[in-house]
Structures are given as structure tokens and as C-alpha cells.
Symmetry: C2
Subunit: 373 residues, 2 copies
């Protein structure tokens, strides 16, 4: 039943750094590049795991810190682990909780030993340090776990980001030492903000620790798109070709194309589900605000070319009606459509790379995208 994690590059694009890969985990295979739906509290908001499977999702990411706060990772371990708890018997990643330091509602303070959070449930202060971060993730049993890192805000200066990187690197060493569970592999997270020398230092130190794969963190945290693309390209280029590259926290079509072109294998984002719940639905011509009065009498589906459950069964008019009334079915149908849209886009991207027409497909999609605005 159990294999070690294995990542193989099957096709490398000739004109870009895009690549087709295959990740083998104890819970099955992931075709890359792949979009990773975010199940923060062990649920991709509004959707069942069966719906995610049906849409072609192959791997999910869950936040270990939120599950530590409630119901507790030991409880999930006793219940048979995270896969069983959330009814997802496929590959799974857990994040370490470091990213929650960017959440002013949760963040308390940070020092060399770890990050302090205030629980939204009871106001208690919790420290996440490498030992806790790995213990929680070992309890949960995801196939891929993340070394503890600090994700500095885009607005921090060079000195702060440098100091923060020192912490991230020392936490990575500790995280690796603590992790002993052979059914789970660990990825290190590259930080360094928008400063190339820090990104380079981060990659060098992380490569030395020889992680099973590398997360690219601290990207798309408020900086302009061009800087997102540049730092992603720069960082990806420094990473070993034979290891997975996971760009954390991006999910819009434009950034996905740039990331894949830079040689990224995985990317996750709450964007499709969150924007869906608020009435923004994706289409070939760009995002649509379904609450706009002009859709109230529109009998077309969100996107006539879309094959998702929502588009096959419901009109824009019905979705407008549901979302205006904050009916959960509306949020659910919109989230489902958006996740399907992104998974389908990434499936088409894989096909285009396989057929040697990645850049052509990118131009084709992006020339239409955004025209609705």
C-alpha cells in the first residue's frame, strides 16, 4: 500500500521551462502541472470530495494549524488520520501554519523560537514552533508536509526579510530533524520576499537540506503581477530540475500560465472558491460578477463552453437570484464552477505542453481573457 514519494518529469517543453510530471504518493498519482484546491479546515468550502474527484482534482492542501485549534490533530490521528476524516483517499498536503502569520486576526507575535497566535475560539495564545508544526502534521498524516517558515508581508523592508529568512532557514533545519515519519515527505519553503539575493540564499540553503520538493512562499502577497512573475521565474530557475516546485497561494489564469511557463508543478489558491462564494464566476472572457443586474434575465449558463454541473443545469439568471439571496446553493454552484474552470484550464495546459503548443495555447486563452471587463 505504501510507496515513497516519487516525482518524474515526463515531458520538458522545448521553448519554455514548462514541464509535464508525475508524482507518485502513498495515496496515488498526481499529474503535474496541477492546481491544488484549498481545504483550509479539512473542507474545500461548500464542496464534497466526491465533487472534487469528479472534476479531476488529484491533490488537496489542508491547514494543520487550523486543525490543531479545532478539533485537535491528536483526535484526527485517533480517528484514522486526515485522509479518512475528510473522506479523501488521494494525495494530500498539509501546510504548517506559518502563512497564518499574515492573518492579523490570528497573529500575535514572532520570535526566534516560533510564531505566536491568538485562537479565534477562546483567545488563548498558541505558539507554533518547528516541533509543534511537524508533530501536528505527523498526526494528520498527509503525504506531503511543509517545513515551518515565516511568510513576511510584501511591505517589509530588506532588513526584516533577511532576519525573517534566517528564522525560516533555522526552522527548516529543525523541521527536518524532527520529522521521522517515513510515510510522509517534507517540502522546504523558499522565502526572501522580492529580494533576489535573499531568494538565492534561501534556495542554496534549502537545496543543501535536500528536501523532497520545494514550496515557493511569500509570492502573491500584495506585490504587482510583474514582480510575481519575475520572482517566480528567478526562484524556479535556481531550484533543482528533478524536484517538485510548488508555488503557494496563486490561482488566477494569468498567473497560472506564467507559473507553468517558469517550470512550476503545483499551485494552490482559495481564489476560485472564495470568489465564487462572493458571486464572481470565471469564464473564457474573464471573471463575471453574477450579481450584476444584467444577468437577472439571462437564460444562458455562466460559460456556454463549460461542461461543469452548474453550467449544464443552471442559468445565469438562477445563479444571480441565489447569490443575491445569499442562498448556499448559489455559493456552492459558483464555487463548483470556478474550481472546475481552473482544473479544466490546467488540464488543457498539460495537453498543450504534451502537444508542443504551450505558448500558442497561452496566447489563445489570454487574448480572450479579461475582454468582458
Amino acid at each position: 500500500m505504501k510507496w515513497l514519494l516519487d516525482f518524474k518529469i515526463k515531458i520538458a517543453d522545448e521553448t519554455t521551462n514548462a514541464r509535464i510530471g508525475e508524482l507518485i504518493t502513498p495515496h496515488g498519482k498526481v499529474n503535474t502541472p496541477m492546481f491544488v484546491p484549498v481545504a483550509t479546515k479539512a473542507t474545500v468550502k461548500t464542496l464534497t470530495t466526491q465533487e472534487l474527484l469528479d472534476m479531476g482534482a488529484e491533490i488537496l492542501i489542508v491547514n494543520a494549524f487550523h486543525l490543531h485549534l479545532h478539533p485537535g490533530t491528536e483526535i484526527i490521528k485517533e480517528l484514522g488520520g486526515l485522509h479518512k476524516f475528510m473522506n479523501w483517499n488521494r494525495p494530500l498536503i498539509t501546510d504548517n501554519g506559518g502563512f497564518q502569520a499574515t492573518n492579523s486576526y490570528l497573529f500575535h507575535k514572532i520570535d526566534e523560537t516560533g510564531i505566536y497566535f491568538r485562537s479565534p475560539h477562546d483567545g488563548q495564545i498558541h505558539q507554533i514552533n518547528p516541533e509543534e508544526a511537524i508533530r501536528y502534521q505527523n498526526n494528520l498524516g498527509a503525504d506531503i508536509i511543509m517545513a515551518l517558515d515565516e511568510c513576511p508581508a510584501y511591505t517589509e523592508n530588506y532588513e526584516y526579510v533577511k532576519q525573517s529568512l534566517d528564522r525560516t532557514l533555522s526552522w527548516a533545519v529543525e523541521s527536518k530533524k524532527i520529522h521521522q515519519n517515513t510515510n510522509q515527505v517534507m517540502f522546504g519553503i523558499i522565502q526572501g520576499g522580492i529580494f533576489k539575493d535573499l531568494r538565492q540564499r534561501s534556495v542554496e540553503a534549502m537545496r543543501e537540506l535536500d528536501f523532497a520538493g520545494y514550496g515557493l512562499g511569500g509570492i502573491s502577497v500584495g506585490e504587482p503581477d510583474n514582480l510575481i512573475y519575475e520572482i517566480t521565474r528567478y526562484t524556479a530557475n535556481l531550484l533543482p530540475k528533478d524536484k517538485m516546485r510548488y508555488l503557494m497561494g496563486v490561482g488566477s489564469p494569468q498567473i497560472i500560465f506564467e507559473a507553468v511557463e517558469a517550470g512550476i508543478d503545483l499551485f494552490d489558491s482559495v481564489f476560485p472558491t472564495r470568489s465564487g462564494r462572493h458571486g464572481t464566476v470565471f469564464s473564457e472572457l474573464g471573471p463575471i460578477n453574477i450579481k450584476n443586474a444584467k444577468y437577472r434575465q439571462d437564460s444562458d449558463p455562466i460559460d456556454s463552453n463549460c461542461t461543469c454541473f452548474t453550467c449544464k443545469n443552471y442559468s445565469r439568471a438562477y445563479l444571480t437570484h441565489l447569490i443575491k439571496h445569499q442562498e448556499m446553493l448559489g455559493m456552492r454552484l459558483a464555487a463548483l464552477h470556478n474550481v472546475h474552470f481552473i482544473l479544466n484550464l490546467v488540464r488543457n495546459i498539460r495537453e498543450a505542453i504534451e502537444e508542443g503548443r504551450f505558448l500558442e495555447y497561452k496566447r489563445e486563452v489570454l487574448s480572450k481573457y479579461g475582454k468582458i471587463l
Copy 2:
């Protein structure tokens, strides 16, 4: 494609007034007794119509007044009617809006000409009178529509209920006159509160109008269970045997058994979906408050004998976790289980009547039910 509505009694129970019937509508067949899930704003909250079909739902009820407020019944007519709008190509009932007079948030005042409501959207005053109530329902195109009625509160005295009944009877006459759409049949609604002479007067006047079927309204509006049962039995007994009897607004297992025993064919309630969203889930031993701390580590499904999607895939521990975090997936899974539970109960009741063991089955179920509390 279009038939007239046809209702046939197939089996009459020998020891009670319970009966097995078959209703034929322009959108297909309904086996009775049947539970009618409530889709107030054209959605059974959190669920898709496909899920309802899969669970064996055969007919839904929608509130015409809410759809008048938003998006407007003319818009739905132009979009091809309510069946198409909500993706439910099966039998459909619309309610007239009269019941909303019991909603203090919406109710403004009432007089001989109709009921005045304050829109929650813009504060505007809307009057519902027989002409409006029928026009809205004709626009929507449900198979069964309801004559306008007033539903007095349980706390109203004899004089008020008598006066109110006069209005309901004169509105029934008008409603019938206005309704000319041959694809839809109209039910009259019996009122009269807890006063038997008023219930009798109501039935006599309504029978004279010869409706296609009869709703029993103003029951389960705050009165004790015994009174619910007594008024239901009393009223059902006065109604013609060959016409449908629809008890409006009841959905708990105990009341369902009493209603079926009294000869009721249809009953609707928001109870399964509403209580599910708030974390109360049904089981053979009675309702369970899934937020109770004792379920936090419970790996069993809600009900081990249940065959619903929720029970086949998820533990009580996972549901507790989701509902505590107000995750929509939790509300969705709980609502789905509850609707399945009631539809399944009513399916078993039909089977028991067919096999001549209705009272036996009632005793069997109710002897266990409530033992969990």
C-alpha cells in the same frame, strides 16, 4: 406532454384512514403519502435538485410571494417557467404567500382586500390579494397552486379566527374565478384554527367550490401536539375521500405518522433542512445535536442504518467539526441526511400500508424514537 391532474387511491388501510395514492401531473407522478421538501426561494436550502431526485423526492413546494419580491414572477415566466428556472422537471406546488403573514418580519397589515407585506429588500409595501396571488402563481407555472388564504396564529381568539375565515373563504371564491390556466390545478386551503365548528364551516364552503385538492392550513402553528393531531383528524375526516389532502407545514416523524393515519396524502416542512443547518440531525433514536462535545471523537456515521451520502461517507466527528466552524459543507451534509431520513421514513410508511402493517410499523418506529434524549 400535458395531462389534467389525476389522483387515484390505490390502497385504503383497513384499520386506519391511511391510504396509498398516485397523483398524475403534467410533470409526472407522485406516490402518496409523500413528504414535500420546501424550496422557499426556488431552492431547497443547500441541496441540488439532482440530490433531491436521487433521494426519492417527487414533488417540491416553492413560495410565490418570495419569488414575486425577487426576481419577479414575470422574469421567471419569460425564462421558461419555474420548473426550468430551478432545474426541477417534476411535479411542483407553489404557495400563495398567505403563510408569510405569520412572519412578523414581513407582515404589515391585513384587510378584506388582501395582505400587506413590507419587502425585506427595499422596505416597500406590497399587497397580496387573490388576483395577485393567482397571477404570480400562473406566471410561475407550478402543477398545483394554492388559493389565497389567511393563516391566523394559534393565539388568536374565536372571533378573530371566524373573521379571518370569512376572508379566506371569499378569497377562495375569487382565486378560483381568476385562475384560468388549464395546465395548473388549484387547491383550496382549510382554515378555522383549533375551533371545530369553524373547521367544519371551512370544509363545507371549500367542498362547494370543488377544488382539485385541499390544503390543511393553520395547523402546527404553536399549538400542543395533541391538538395538532385532533384538528388534523377532525378536518381530514370531513374532506371528500377521492381528493388529495395536503397538511401544510409539518415534518417531524411523530406528526407524520399521525397525519398519515388520519388520511393525509402530502405534508411539507422546512424542519429537516433548517434543523440540519443548525446541527440537529435525525436518527432512529431521535434527533441528535451534533455539536455536542461527545461526538467530537465519534467515528460512527450519524445513523449506522442510514444509506444516505452523508452516512456512507462521513463520521459524526467530521460533521461536528464542520458544523462548529459553520462550514457550509457541514450544513449541506446535515440537511441532505435529514431530508433523506424523512423521505425514507415515508417510503417505509407507504410500504407498511401496502403490506397491511401500518400501525405495527408506527409502533415499531415510535417506540425507539426519542430514546436518545
